[in-house]
Structures are given as C-alpha cells and as structure tokens.
C-alpha cells in the first residue's frame, strides 16, 4: 500500500504511545528507514508487520490495534494535506460513505498503483446504515470499523458500528451496520 498508510500508523504510534514505542517497534521489525513517502508504494506485508508488532508491543489484539489506526486515519487526514478531500466527500456520514469510491478513484490518478477498496452505503432506517465493503485484501474489517468510528467523531455524529459478517449474495464482500445515536 502507499506510504500514506504507513505514515498514519507511524504517527498513531508516535502520538498515542510515544517515540520510544515507535523505535522499539522499528527495531523488532528491523525497519531502518522509517521515513515514508505518501507517493511511494510499499509492500502490504510491511504494513501487516507494523500492525502486528504494534499490537504485541501495546498488548492489544490485532483487530483492536487496526481499529485504533482506523480512527487515527481520519484524525490524521483531516489535518495533513488530505483534509480538502474529506471536506469534498460530503457534509454528512451517508453522503460521505456514498462518495468514497469517487474519492479513491480520483486518487488513483495520482497514485497509479492504488488498489482501493469499494464501498456502497444503504439506508436501512432513519438512523441506521448498512455499509458494504469489498477489497482484494483480507483482514482489514476492523480497520474499516475504526475509520467509521473516526468519521462519527469527524461529523460529530455519535454512532456504533459493527461488522456483521460476509455479504449474503456476494463473495469478497463484508457487511457493517451503523447505528446513529440520537
């Protein structure tokens, strides 16, 4: 994945656990050059190792770690360079989630090797949304949960999000239910 992902993970560890934690993790995964460039693709495996080591260092499960990084993703992008993109995608959660594919598609002009996920959003009721997530990558459902939680904070919309399992009719598709608290 592109360096942006690793950069956000590094920033999350730095902000939340401090520089010592980051250095310990780098040492464990034998990462010598820890300067990530947004515009450069890195092997997915590096990101997975970073997540796994961060989880073991902080004593959390990998899904919990991914969730934390997902929340940080929104926080980070809102203030570092991509804030305009977040603003462009919509002023409320539903519009935003419906525009995610446009957003990732637009990015692929700048990131030619992007293999973005795909999202579709459906209204189930006034305060309930269903999110369909498709990706060629595996094991990132908790990352999506964290991102949606982060979006809840970003839009000042208290919510609860749950991964409910694979989609009924489609393979390589995962479903999430979002309950908006009023």
């Amino acid at each position: 994945m592109y360096g942006l992902v690793n950069k956000v993970i590094k920033d999350a560890i730095f902000q939340r656990y401090g520089e010592t934690a980051w250095q310990a993790i780098c040492k464990r995964i034998k990462l010598e050059d820890d300067i990530f460039v947004n515009l450069e693709p890195y092997p997915d495996e590096l990101t997975h190792r970073m997540v796994a080591e961060a989880a073991s260092y902080t004593g959390q499960s990998i899904p919990d770690m991914l969730m934390e990084f997902g929340r940080h993703w929104i926080e980070y992008n809102a203030v570092h360079g991509y804030g305009d993109m977040l603003k462009l995608a919509g002023k409320d959660l539903y519009t935003f989630l419906s525009n995610l594919d446009h957003m990732h598609a637009g990015m692929s002009h700048v990131f030619p090797e992007l293999r973005p996920p795909s999202f579709r959003c459906e209204r189930l009721g006034e305060n309930q949304l269903k999110l369909y997530y498709r990706s060629e990558r595996q094991g990132l459902q908790a990352f999506v949960v964290g991102m949606v939680q982060g979006l809840g904070e970003y839009f000042d919309t208290p919510l609860e999000v749950k991964h409910t399992g694979p989609c009924e009719k489609e393979s390589i598709c995962e479903e999430f239910i979002i309950d908006i608290k009023v």
């Binding site: 947004n38 360079g81 991509y82 305009d84 462009l88 995608a89 519009t95 990015m107 002009h109 700048v110």
Partner: protein, 380 residues
C-alpha cells in the same frame, strides 16, 4: 429528438439552452445555483461573460460550430470552466443546448460556489476529477515539503563539511609547529652527542623517518582540505609547461633514483593550474615511490577524443594486483604488501578529487611486475 429538462438536469446539471436570438431560455439546476438565475429569459451576454479559449462572435451559428467547447465564465470574479458540447437537441434548429460539466481549479472552493458533489451527476467523471485535483494538490504539497527538507539538509551538510575542513586546516597548522620543534631539537641533540653506536643510529633514523612521514601526512591533509574548501580557478593551462614545472619541482627526487620523465606535445586545456600541478606531481611521486628494480621511466602523453583529452601517465614500476584497483582512490588506502614504502595514503584520493572538480574521470591499468598506467580524462 426531444429531451426533457428532467433528463438534461439529471445527466448534465451544468447545461444551458439558447434560442436563435442567443437568449438563455433554460439552464441546469447546478448552473442556475451558481449563477443565481431566476428563470427569466435573458440575453446570454447579460448572464454569462463567456470566454472561449479562442475568438468567437456571439452568433447562434458560431456557437453551433463550437462542438467540444470549453467555456470560461466569471462567477463572482472567479473564473470557472464548463467543458461540454453544443448540440441541437430539440430537433428544431432554433434551440442550441450546451451540455457540459463544471471543471474546478484545484484551488477553488466548492463552498464558495455553493456547490456540493451532489451537483455533479453520479456518473460524471468530473467528480472523480475533483478528488483527483485535491489529491494532486496534496501530492504537490508533499513533494514541495520533501524538497524543502532536502535543501535544508544539504545546506546543513555543506556547513558541517566546511567546519570540518576548517578544523582540519587548523589542526594541521597546529601540528606543524611542534613537529618542526621535534625535528630541529633532534638535530641539535645529534650534534651535541657526537658519534653514535650502530643501534643508536638506527633508532635515530627511525625517529627521523617517522617525523618526515608525519610531516607529509600533515601537508597532504592540509592540501586535501584546501582543495575541498576553496573553489577551483579555471584558466587556460599549457600542459607542456605545467609538466616541465612539475619535473623541475621534483628534480632532486627524480635524480636521486635515477628516474626520467618523458613527454612531448601536450595541449592547452581549461583547468586550475595549481591543482593540475598537484595532480601530475602526485602521479610522478607515486611512480617514483612504487618503482621496481629498474631505473624509473615515466611517460606522459595526451590523446584527443571527441569531447575530452585523455592524459596517460605510464611507469615501469612494481604495478599492483587487480584486487587493489577498486580501492586505490579511497583515502588512507595503502598497498599493504608495501607497508615499507612511505606515503600518507592521501595522494591518489587527492588526485581523484581534483579530476572530479575538473569534470573528468580517472581509471588505471596495472599488472604486478609490469607497471601502472593512469588515464586521466579531462573535458576539452
């Protein structure tokens, strides 16, 4: 063919329709929002200040010819662009319809234009484009930031380098005086002691040799520092005269080992005289140092190539093994099987730097027992 306004609005929310008098008779929801249009038919020139990338008179026919037009118009002093096509869509030839989509500049704020993504049709490439423009802008920001960092680091490195060179200069200067004192008091001591025994003389020789070696090292360090620190002064250099000068400067060393330097018809080139002097002087000293059993003969020639001169310095010295060749221009590398031969280990690395500063390159051929040839390529 007749198209409903609903249809046009859904797929081309930035459309507008002109009748044969160039009056705006209909307009897409999104464009209407941007222009604050209240629905009254108006001459197009009153509503839009149209600009095309090329000259067009405002006639119906002229518009009609503009298939695939880019229209630049002013919205509250902000230039925006609509890209699309003029088409007769009503089948009557009296209404022209422009179907287009708004292109935003990356620095334009959609909020200011009171637009949101919903104003772009869902299948419209321009909404992807909007994201792409934002992503491009963020990417540019990153590149600019990285370039700035790189420049700062470069400046920092230059400063550190300069400080290091000044330090080397100062240290070599400060080392020279005590060393000279050691050597002169050693001489005074020898004079006052009178004749020495065999082993005593041997120890004294060792001390003097070590001191001379140290003197050479200090000299080379200081040369190296000034070559790095000071800019080269380029001028026309007559190489024939330069080698004559070098030979004169090294005459006592050359005659001491019965050596000969042979050269003729060397060209005039652009270079820094004193550095080129140092360069060829180092090569000759190197050949004298690594001489074989025969009397040293050093041959200097120049060959003209398309864009450069290639000088060669060939000797009949001991030569060296292939394994040493890649390391030979690094500082403090000495051929370990000739540890008895004097030298600071900086001579060839100084040569390499001088040639680099002249925009040239060095390479060499060498074989044990057959001698060494250095090839110095310098731009013409």
């Amino acid at each position: 063919m007749v198209a409903s306004i609903k249809f046009l609005n859904r797929f081309f929310p930035f459309f507008f329709a002109l009748d044969e008098h160039n009056t705006l008779v209909n307009i897409g929801n999104s464009l209407a929002k941007v222009l604050n249009w209240n629905g009254t038919p108006l001459p197009i020139s009153d509503v839009l200040q149209l600009r095309f990338p090329y000259e067009v008179d405002l006639s119906h026919e002229a518009f009609y010819d503009l298939i695939g037009a880019v229209i630049i118009f002013d919205i509250k002093d902000k230039k925006s662009q609509i890209k699309g096509e003029f088409i007769t869509f009503r089948g009557d030839d009296r209404t022209l319809i422009f179907m287009g989509s708004l292109l935003l500049n990356p620095d334009e704020n959609m909020d200011e234009l009171q637009l949101s993504l919903a104003d772009f049709p869902s299948n419209d490439n321009s909404s992807n484009l909007l994201f792409s423009l934002k992503a491009q802008r963020a990417a540019l920001e990153e590149v600019t930031g990285l370039t700035r960092q790189l420049k700062e680091q470069q400046a920092e490195m230059r400063k550190v380098n300069q400080e290091l060179m000044q330090y080397t200069h100062a240290v070599s200067h400060d080392l020279k005086t005590p060393l000279r004192n050691i050597m002169s008091f050693m001489q005074l001591l020898l004079r006052s002691l009178g004749p020495l025994s065999g082993p005593q003389q041997e120890y004294v020789d060792f001390i003097m040799q070590a001191a001379q070696r140290m003197e050479q090292l200090i000299k080379d360090l200081s040369t190296d520092a000034s070559i790095r620190e000071l800019p080269a002064k380029f001028q026309d250099v007559n190489m024939q005269h330069l080698i004559e000068d070098v030979e004169r400067g090294l005459r006592s060393e050359i005659t001491a080992v019965n050596g000969r330097v042979i050269f003729s018809e060397l060209p005039v080139i652009k270079g820094d005289y004193s550095r080129l002097y140092q360069l060829f002087s180092n090569f000759i000293q190197n050949s004298l140092k690594y001489r074989s059993g025969q009397d040293p003969v050093i041959r200097e020639e120049a060959r003209q190539e398309e864009t450069s001169w290639v000088f060669s310095v060939a000797d009949n010295g001991i030569g060296m093994d292939q394994v040493f060749l890649p390391k030979i221009f690094k500082p403090f590398i000495r051929l370990h099987n000739h540890a008895d031969i004097e030298g600071s280990g900086l001579g060839l690395s100084i040569c390499h730097r001088i040639v680099e500063q002249h925009g040239g390159s060095i390479r060499l051929d060498s074989e044990p027992g057959k001698g060494t040839v250095f090839y110095i390529q310098l731009p013409r």
